[in-house]
Amino acid sequence: MSESTQTPTSSRDVGMILQESEDNRPIIEAIEEDNPECSISHTPGLVRITAPGRLVVLQESVEEKLGREWETHEFQMSIVSYFGNIQEWDDDEIVIAWDH
């Protein structure tokens, strides 16, 4: 968890846009729980999640919500767009932040 507890140096908003679907809802719920500072807005068919400085997607939480094994590269299927830089895209977490 060393990465996840690290405070971002830039607090400029980062965000991601996901497709809103039955399959993605558990993923969105997991992101919502893991990023207490995030805000979520719904547009038809899309969900926009923004947070100051940093967003993290944890494999463990997504798997728990989905009730099956989930590999982080499957996130490609859910994500439409993002703003910020992809800082990590590992087996266990995806981190979006501005600073590398």
Binding site: E22, R25, P26, T43, P44, E64, L66, G67, R68
Partner: protein, 334 residues
């Protein structure tokens, strides 16, 4: 002429059913939750059952294991009809593919004789044990309380039919497309000494009235048998020149791992219950201990016969496994 395109958002009148909004907040609920939570009938039962007039048709007291909120248990796999059927269809197609490969390569004919004996004498008769498992889980689906619990039990009951079918197909392939070995397997099940403990236990568990205790008994036997036959022997098959056995065993052990998920979650829910958690933990310890004693007693002669055929340390394996599982029944497990 300038046109400006705008999206007009039409908010849905409601996100989901009221009882789910009350429980999880006003947001869309998953298909699993919509189809599974709060379906249990709770009132307007006209008659009490003639076989048990002290209870209602659907009653929480059919088992000593109770949840103050039956829906604190959710199937972690989130199976409702469609995903369950899809998942099992994939599972059985994968087995069919393996079986096709086994038959194409003539791997069954090339099995060493002791492995053929193991399959015919000990593994195929377990079709009947699977059938007992189906009855036990059907009973749980009928008498359990809370639709999430009974749904998981019903699916698991159907799984047992599927497992029996996998064993049957293997038996038919092994007998060159005839049912001869299956008929022999039934005779083994009814008459062979190493199987009588299992048969006795299966029959006693079928008539156990308390579905929670029946589930513990069935699970204790599963824990020992599946570990021995489809993990331990799978390892032996890989090194012992029995690839056909290994190809078949993987499907049984992957099913077992999937089935564990809901049973483990149910135990967790029993223990985590705010009002009844301590009571349930005590009951799991008490009945689990007894279930494991009886399971080990029934499985040991079976394992001894496996050792006579293959000398793979089967008895030691089930004894060790029983000790491991006992740990998980202990009352202080969180």
């Amino acid at each position: 002429m300038q046109y400006e395109l705008k999206t007009q958002v039409i908010e849905p009148q409601r996100s989901t059913f009221t009882h789910l909004v009350n429980r999880y907040g006003d947001k869309p609920a998953s298909r699993y939750l919509e189809g599974s939570v709060g379906v249990q009938p709770r009132e307007h039962f006209h008659y009490r059952p003639t076989y048990d007039p002290g209870k209602e048709l659907y009653d929480e007291t059919y088992s000593v294991f109770r949840l103050s909120d039956p829906y604190s248990f959710l199937d972690p796999r989130q199976y409702y009809y469609a995903p369950y059927v899809t998942s099992r269809s994939t599972h059985h197609e994968a087995f069919a593919t393996s079986l096709q490969y086994i038959e194409d390569r003539g791997l069954l004919e090339r099995l060493p004789q002791e492995w053929k004996d193991l399959l015919g004498e000990l593994v195929l008769p377990l079709r009947h044990l699977e059938s007992a498992g189906q009855l036990i889980l059907c009973g749980m689906a009928r008498f359990g309380y809370g639709s999430t619990v009974t749904q998981a039990a019903a699916f698991s009951g159907f799984d047992r039919v599927g497992n029996a079918q996998i064993l049957s197909r293997l038996g038919i392939a092994l007998a060159g497309g005839t049912a001869d070995l299956l008929a022999e397997a039934k005779t083994h099940w009814l008459e062979d000494e190493p199987l009588q403990g299992l048969r006795r236990l299966a029959e006693y568990t079928i008539v156990e009235k308390d579905w929670g205790i029946a589930l513990l008994h069935l699970d204790a036997v599963d824990q020992l048998l599946y570990d021995l036959l489809y993990r331990h022997l799978d390892d032996e098959a890989v090194t012992g020149g029995a690839p056909a056995y290994s190809l078949f065993a993987q499907h049984m052990s992957s099913w077992f791992a999937d089935n564990r998920k809901w049973i483990d979650a149910l135990h967790k829910a029993w223990r985590a219950d705010e009002e009844l958690g301590a009571t349930n933990a005590g009951l799991i310890a008490q009945h689990g201990e007894l279930a494991m004693d009886q399971a080990l007693e029934a499985v040991t002669p079976f394992a001894a016969r496996v050792d006579e055929l293959l000398a793979v340390g089967a008895v030691d394996r089930v004894t060790a496994r029983a000790a491991e599982v006992r740990q998980t029944y202990a009352a202080d497990q969180a």
